[in-house]
Amino acid sequence: MIAEKSNTAQLIIDKISSSAEKVNFIDNDQLSKALLYLENKGIPNNKHEDYKYCNIDGIFKKEFRNIEQKLNSVTDVAQYKLKDALTLVVVNGNYSESLSDKLILKGLHLTAFSNLDKEEKKLIGCLANVESDAFIALNTAFSGAGFHLKIADNEQLQMPIHILYVSSANSEALVNPRNVIELGKNAEATIIEEQICIGTGKVFTNFLSEKFVGENAKLTSYTFQNEGANGFSVNTNQVTINRYGKYDNTTVTLSGALVRNNHNVVLAAQNCQAHLNGLFTTRNNQLVDNHTLMDHQMPNCESNELYKGIITDKSTGVFNGKIYVRKDAQKTNAYQSSKNILLSDDATINTKPQLEIYADDVKCSHGTSTGKIDEVAVFYLNARGIGRESAKKLLLNAFAQEVINKIEVDELKEKILNLFENEL
């Protein structure tokens, strides 16, 4: 019966073990747990409740049969840079000091994983439980040479940090970018994470970020995904917020063959806040799957989620929002809303709120709406001389505004708006 097992995970491990560099910054205990987990559980397929619409085992079997890891080096990222941000570049999972800007910001400390001392290394994997998900395990087993970013206590970064993750290969490849971002007490930072995939080969990017928002700290985070037809990715953000801390994320997904986002936020102490906003557009056969988890563990916290999708052709969108309100989490406010526009009869959206509430004094609500483009509005615009295509653009733009307006970095907002309009 051994042949029956067809363990995709094992195949991948075998294939990339030879070319992967030795991961020396993750402790052996975690490494072996990761490998064991993969061996036992494998890569999830659509029988797995959390991956019901996102059969990644199937994707690996179909699209990544020939992982050869012919990774490209990247020499120029000038076109992606923002003017008023500090750029850090990660190529195929590895931090590139030479492509990155000099770290001139007061209060900002960056340490490459390989330079962490023994104590500091313990931070890796501190938030993301290696035995909770196959992709955390996979990343742990083959983690790229990422970095630990620390914003010191009481420091407010004067400029956003733009982390550019570039995947590029000339063959099928799997890369595992990883970072740990830590905001000290009362610290404030804006971090933009942008994911792109260039090169001729299909790349599966298995991204993992652990983010720790310290007491009364504020992390404003933007995720911008535009990986194109060769980009497949699973992106895990594992966030923990301390007392009075605030975490805001806006994720815009404009392209990618497959994009699965696991955004897990633990509101671990009293009086913290988390806001997750998402906008995605899908076309052709793409799949964008946003899974969120708001884990309210303590009283007086607030969370709010707004996800909007524009789904075209035969593509699929998924929004699955889990909210846990643990028994100590009295006076929780948790809201969630998912709104979608289907632009073709073959487009699909699956939305599912999952509320598990164990406290009694809470305010929770969720709402979902799915519709087509408003033909009455289209006619009104037509009647003023505006053609069908521009009318559609105006209306979709209006639909997206609610999320795009959450972006407080003007340059990024403009860039996304332009690319968004081109996508329509």
Partner: protein, 253 residues
């Protein structure tokens, strides 16, 4: 300007327009009156190109072109304007962006370049003043949260901006207070010229005191059953539709 011949239109299998004939020349103002549900808005919508209605018979010639062959946006670009009875709210699309897009698409259709931003803003200012529209409204989303009267005034503002050849005003007077009514009428009268024409759909003589029609038509049960001069509106105001209804009912029998 426009010639409507034997126009029939239905929605589903229900026939609503049952043979409309109407000829409007440049420089004229026509009023269309008629009881609720008689087909006035349907006529306006069919002319503007709403696709929910199926034209089953007849033709419409608009400045030499077969109007019914044109898409709704091209009808507007050819100079047809419909002031909606129920203007549509479009959250997230600013009035200003909407008008700029409209104006420039109309210009592009006629082979003209985009209007320079400066000229556009000057035009906005001028027309805003004409219809006494609060400047704040132009920066808000199209009709979103506008009061009934503000929506109607916004329709006239758009008309003033786009300067159509033929404007069809569908009950633009309903829901307006006396001042607004006067302002709307002033707007229409200021735009009126030898080159354009207006169709004013209304239930009340009141508006026709301000916008004096050359012709008044009564639409009943999908047909124009009577036409006359401006005195017809006064007669209707005094007598109501009873006589017409009776005539029609006896015809039915």
């Amino acid at each position: 300007m426009i010639t409507i011949k034997n126009l029939h239109a239905s929605i589903g299998d229900k026939e609503i327009l049952k043979g409309i004939n109407l000829e409007i020349k440049a420089g004229e103002i026509h009023a269309i009156m008629g009881p609720n549900g008689s087909g006035k808005s349907t006529l306006a919508s069919v002319l503007a190109g709403r696709e929910d209605y199926e034209v089953t018979q007849g033709e419409v010639i608009f400045n030499g072109k077969n109007l019914l062959d044109l898409a709704a946006e091209d009808r507007a670009r050819e100079g047809l304007f419909l002031a909606f009875q129920y203007p549509v709210e479009i959250p997230g699309v600013s009035n200003i962006n909407f008008l700029k897009t409209a104006l420039n698409e109309i210009r592009a259709y006629h082979g003209q370049e985009e209007m320079p931003a400066k000229d556009f803003l000057a035009l906005v200012k001028e027309k805003q003043k004409l219809v006494e529209l609060d400047g704040k409204l132009t920066n808000r989303s199209v009709n979103e949260g506008f009061s009934g009267g503000e929506k109607k005034r916004n329709e006239i503002f758009q008309m003033a901006m786009l300067n159509p050849k033929l404007a069809v005003l569908d009950e633009t007077d309903s829901g307006l207070d006396i001042d607004a009514l006067r302002i709307v009428a002033t707007g229409v009268n200021a735009l009126k010229s030898k080159e354009n024409a207006f169709v004013v759909i209304t239930h009340y003589q009141r508006l026709l005191d301000y916008i004096v029609p050359d012709f008044v038509h009564i639409l009943y049960n999908g047909q124009i059953v009577r036409s006359g001069g401006k005195e017809l509106a006064l007669e209707l105001e005094a007598k109501g539709y009873d006589e017409i209804k009776k005539q029609f009912e006896s015809l039915e029998k």
